[in-house]
């Protein structure tokens, strides 16, 4: 049985036995190449569920929106499952609240191309699950060669400030991110106002630095923010960099291990401090 058939069958069983109140997954949309998030609560609707390369949203985000309804089953690939781990570590959900239907993922295809974040993906398979739908997936991740590191500070500033200058501060990147869940976001705080709301380069750069910093040790590089950005801003450049900093400095990968805590919430007395004068 293929994984979609298995998914529908299991969704039906879980709903019939009332083990879950709903199944969070994907369904086709009226636009080809794009699927929608679906929250299926009726057994007669389980045949709508799909899973393929058009399923680009990170479902952990939607989990936060339906978690109060009761126990929910959720379809999760590597990145979604790592987001769930982060939510568990940060006590936004409890393990007993979710039933994880794990799926291996070959990568998300957007407009005929494999999404940037998926090309270098190290975690195509879920890190936690209650059951796997189908086989695990294995592929060689592409190496993302970054010429950028070798540029001078001024050149880097030029490139990045031109990039963020296009940001219209719509915050779509924040809305889709499963690990951006603060009830009051720093960009909306007004007493005191932490970051200017204009889209001049200074405010935009501060927004992007702070967004990246808030994601340090928590961003699972799912690429949802990158795909959501209407201005095509290369958010993965920041995300990849914070993931790299955290990996190299503290040996941690966001959401990879359920029993580890996010990098910036813990410390070791012997942490490197060569940058401290």
């Amino acid at each position: 049985m293929d994984k979609v058939a298995r998914l529908r069958q299991r969704a039906k069983e879980l709903l019939e036995k009332q083990e879950v109140v709903g199944v969070l997954g994907y369904r086709a949309s009226s636009r080809p190449g794009i699927s929608q998030v679906a929250f299926i609560t009726k057994t007669e609707e389980v045949d709508r569920l799909i899973f393929d390369a058009t399923c680009s949203q990170n479902l952990a985000n939607y989990l936060l929106k339906v978690k109060d309804k009761g126990k929910v089953a959720v379809v999760a690939r590597g990145c979604d499952s790592r987001s769930i781990v982060v939510l568990l570590q940060e006590k936004q959900i409890e393990r007993g609240q979710v039933y994880i239907l794990g799926v291996g993922c070959e990568g998300v295809i957007v407009q005929g191309e494999k999404s940037v974040s998926c090309r270098s993906c190290q975690y195509p398979n879920p890190v936690i699950y209650d059951e796997m739908l189908g086989e695990e997936v294995h592929f060689e991740p592409e190496k993302v060669e970054d010429e950028f590191d070798r540029l001078t500070p001024d050149e880097r500033w030029q490139i990045l400030s031109a990039e963020v200058a296009r940001c219209i501060r719509c915050y779509a990147c924040r809305q889709v991110c499963p690990n951006c869940y603060c009830p009051v976001c720093f960009v909306d705080a007004s007493m005191p106002a932490l970051v200017g709301k204009t889209h001049n380069v200074s405010d935009n750069m501060v927004f992007h630095i702070m967004r990246a910093l808030h994601m340090a040790g928590r961003c699972v590089e799912c690429g949802a923010c990158h795909r959501a950005c209407p201005m095509g801003i290369d958010l993965m450049r920041f995300n990849r960099q914070v993931a790299k900093i955290v990996r190299e400095r503290f040996g941690l990968v966001a959401g990879a291990k359920p029993d580890e805590m996010p990098a910036l919430t813990v410390f070791k007395p012997e942490d490197p401090q060569e940058f401290i004068r």
Partner: protein, 141 residues
């Protein structure tokens, strides 16, 4: 003291109440000489230094920022500086990545007995920032 262009850097210093502020105080009461370019802000702990403080200082026209807390192991709140250290490490790396000049933002530990070290640091930081020139990158025009 000014260089030929007459540029005098403005430096904002966030000092932890328990060690670094006391260290700066000691430098003062011991009448140690250091450049008057630094504006001190007292914070309860280096852990209280939100990266926003640093970025906002630069946005609002500081040419350099100095952040100082107690040496590891000496935090009044036991672990505030350890947690801050991780955050500063990531922030520092991120700022370098974005292309901010190394040396605009300096992180240090200064204890309450290190008045001379504080004075020396301010001399160094002022010197370095003077050489870097005015902050143009993050400043809000």
């Amino acid at each position: 003291m000014a260089d030929s262009s007459g540029f005098e850097p403005k430096i904002v210093a966030f000092l932890c109440n328990w060690c670094s502020y006391a260290g700066a105080d000691l430098a003062g009461i011991s009448r140690m000489q250091y450049p008057p370019n630094v504006r001190v802000l007292r914070v309860p702990c280096s852990g209280r230094v939100d990266p926003f403080f640093i970025l906002q200082a630069l946005q609002q026209g500081a040419d350099g920022v100095l952040i100082s807390g107690c040496h590891p192991g000496d935090c009044h709140y036991l672990t505030g500086n350890y947690v801050a250290r991780r955050r500063f490490a990531v922030l520092n790396d991120l700022l370098q990545f974005c292309g901010l000049e190394p040396g605009r933002v300096t992180f240090t530990w200064v204890s309450a007995s290190e008045g001379e070290r504080f004075a020396q640091l301010v001399r160094e930081v002022t010197d370095r920032v003077r050489k870097l020139g005015p902050n143009r990158k993050l400043k809000k025009e």
